[in-house]
């Protein structure tokens, strides 16, 4: 029997990820729904920093760049939980301009993971928007169509995805593009609303340049586990933390 090349298997898996994921999640579907706890208060807008893919790979004796693939399905699982909970807006940290300084093989791996993730999300019910600097070789052409807010399926949830995003680029964008009196209102990411809860996987306690304006008053929750080890419980723990916060916005 002829052996199927590894690359073809990978491609097949990637292209049918949604179907495979659906089959898998259907099997555990009921457990999933019953397992979602009730919360007193939910954040309107959640931001996700899916960090730790490289450390996850290294811990498994893989090359650093081999960790990014395993970060795709967790994103879809998280999407499902947010839709079930009725979260209005979700923002994923894809990659930043600073991240593109990393070795080319890693860059390709995380860019590919972003492309697949966005394509998979476009097969779900979601209003998608990619925010990032498109005037750069680092911005993947495949994602250009998503830089205009588009409703897929029944919409249900707003999803922003940062691709080749840079905080400096974001803030200085208004200079060339609009009324200079309204700088903060006209930043490149002005379509992204204030973030209530930011959840970061991978143990680091920092924002890493994610949307400085929208995170001014965000509550930050850090999951010590790496992103590819995502479990729904991480999310529930973050929401449990959030529901007990006294949100005053400084007042």
């Amino acid at each position: 029997m002829k052996r199927i090349p590894k690359k073809a298997v990978k491609l097949f898996l990637q292209q049918n990820l949604k179907i495979i994921y659906r089959i898998l999640s259907k099997e555990i579907g009921e457990v999933n729904i019953l397992g979602i706890p009730k919360f007193k208060k939910l954040p309107r807008h959640i931001a996700i920093i899916p960090d730790g893919n490289r450390r996850w790979a290294q811990a498994r004796n893989l090359e650093k760049h081999e960790g990014y693939d395993s970060g795709i399905v967790p994103g879809l699982e998280l999407y499902d939980i947010c839709v079930k909970l009725g979260i209005e807006e979700l923002t994923f940290f894809g990659f930043t301009q600073d991240n593109t300084k990393r070795p080319k093989i890693q860059r390709k791996a995380f860019v590919d993971a972003c492309i697949i993730s966005v394509q998979e999300l476009s097969k779900c019910d979601a209003e998608l928007l990619i925010v990032g600097n498109t005037n750069s070789d680092m911005f993947p052409k495949e994602l250009l169509p998503y830089t205009k807010k588009t409703k897929f399926g029944k919409g249900k949830i707003r999803i922003n995805f940062l691709v080749n995003y840079g905080w400096y680029w974001d803030l200085t964008y208004a200079y060339n593009n609009s009324d200079k009196e309204k700088m903060v209102e006209n930043i490149a990411s002005s379509d992204i609303s204030r973030i209530d809860l930011l959840i970061r996987w991978g143990g680091r306690r920092r924002l890493s340049g994610m949307l400085p304006i929208q995170t001014v008053y965000s509550d930050i929750y850090v999951v010590d586990e790496m992103w590819p080890d995502f479990k729904p419980e991480h999310m529930y723990n973050a929401l449990e933390f959030y529901q007990n916060q006294d949100i005053t916005l400084g007042g």
Copy 2:
């Protein structure tokens, strides 16, 4: 014997705080110095959010506003530790424009605590700079002289103090004041450098509008204890956390 009015005692204590603090700290001075651990790596610039004064007061059956007084000496103690460690720059979150929405009695209490803190620091070796919106009734006149960077004693450490600071005010400042191409470079807080480590007391996991540009890549350490319960160990734990961080700035 005539009883000394409570108010006079308070005034005496406040005005002689430095002397009293020095006497107290001399008694435990040697322990303090010997007690400072060695660190592999130190942050160049530390930011402090001294939160939890009101909750601290409530837990002691005091009125909320009565907690701020007890936040002054911890700041001086922290200053001492930073000087001994050779930290180059230290930034204190005094209060923000958002904080001024609180009841007047609280406002007066935290403004007074800021005034005393800055005056006490000006008796130490420090290069002081207050950053905040002075075009407002909320900015205390007593602190106007400190809005120009001034060296006191031998300098030794740069200390920034945010007084009536606002992130929106900070970012939009450049519009009226300088070359519009250099917005990020010309924000109101442009004299304050990038923050390496931000330490927040009082358990909240948020930035609360503190210097969004300078905190873009800061490592954040949260102390669950309230600020008036400051112990040098909180600081050492934060520095121990920091020395083990892999600082890549996204690269």
